[in-house]
Symmetry: C2
Subunit: 261 residues, 2 copies
Amino acid sequence: MTGRDAGAPLEPPPGESPVIVLVRPQLAENIGAVARAMANGGLFHLRLVAPRDGWPQDRAWRTASGADRILEAATEHATVAEAVADCHRVLATCPRPRHIIKPMRTARAAAEDLRQINGRGLRAAVLFGPERAGLDNDDMACADTLVRYPLNPAFMSLNLAQAVMVLAYEWWVAADGTEPRHLMTNETHVATKGELENFLTHLVAELDASGFLDNLPKRPGMVRNIRHLFQRGEVTEQELRTLHGVVRELARGRRENGRAP
Amino acid sequence: MTGRDAGAPLEPPPGESPVIVLVRPQLAENIGAVARAMANGGLFHLRLVAPRDGWPQDRAWRTASGADRILEAATEHATVAEAVADCHRVLATCPRPRHIIKPMRTARAAAEDLRQINGRGLRAAVLFGPERAGLDNDDMACADTLVRYPLNPAFMSLNLAQAVMVLAYEWWVAADGTEPRHLMTNETHVATKGELENFLTHLVAELDASGFLDNLPKRPGMVRNIRHLFQRGEVTEQELRTLHGVVRELARGRRENGRAP
């Protein structure tokens, strides 16, 4: 969506962080797209088990969109067992239940578990299968936990890089403190009720002057409706200054056109 | 990761569901990949604002991986305002804060809001900007809310289809009831403590017969350690039957080799 932040280096996170293991990946373009997704989620360690077209492949760098350091640090392995030999925990992404007995996690719960495993200084790996077939039963027998994403069962064709993206995103969010909902005010601040009151007084005064509120029985209700509207959304001090100017200008125009009462 | 479920049709969800609006998308391949991600998350309605290479484009169908109905139903529009004219709420994905005053949501909070907007029978649109530049300030002025994903600030290059994937995933998860953590047991069930006790009794009896527990002062501690190991993880009834067989066979082998005491 946006270009890479200028000069922001991609460094391996301090301490342990989950290892992404691509098992028999077919397309080098997908390996590059996986590295890009890993970089988005702050993951760094990539291992490749028997990539179909060998490794390295230029086409991977072309789709990595700058996540080159992840590809440069990626290691190639002959078997899943070899790729995870130094890991304490192995999670396997598995789109469908198989006839096996295994702990299951959603992507979100898996990310929370990975944060906890990391916090204990243990090394975890997450297996992703080949584009077409996914992991086979022998691959999954190397894992202690299966990860299944809750996604539309009517359309299970999940792109490899997007599967990694969802996990990398959940990994990042699991340690993220962003306020889920807030008003971005930048240079200004949310108006105080006093500042809002000043504007409403100004507005009602000009509406009185214009004759807009001359119907006295209706006046209180009309004023209340206007108040309700402006109370409803958070207004900033900067926006109130603009609104003061709008009312002032419209009123002056009216007077200059001699339509004042 | 896996092939499309055979014959699972892609239907527009009943009632309202969020409209994905791609603003000035550049690559038809990305439009196809977006449709695939939408299908993964159960979204259906796609609108294109001034796609660079025109519409339709065969290359989009090639990357949609079967999400053809979403592409066939996609509509083309000249401007953002035209594309969202019939929508009640407009969210705009925005990777960075701009100097504007606008409510912000994380992807997760946005998905929760979208479910709530839908529940009220209102139509919401989510804007995604062009691959290179993202949405411009005029695009964002058409939105009532901005959505920013918590992701690695050191690497902001987020692929368009992956940006849609994250939102589609959160949209699906916001209404998903999957147990985050459970043991997948398939045909069998988690063993009762009684079934586990039967096995431990069998095992200890054979260990006694083998002389493995002859060190009487150490015996209680050794038995406890074995019990702790088997109590630690959930064991299923099927696995216990296998373990009974393993102990039986190992013990028989020992006897037949005349190594019984």
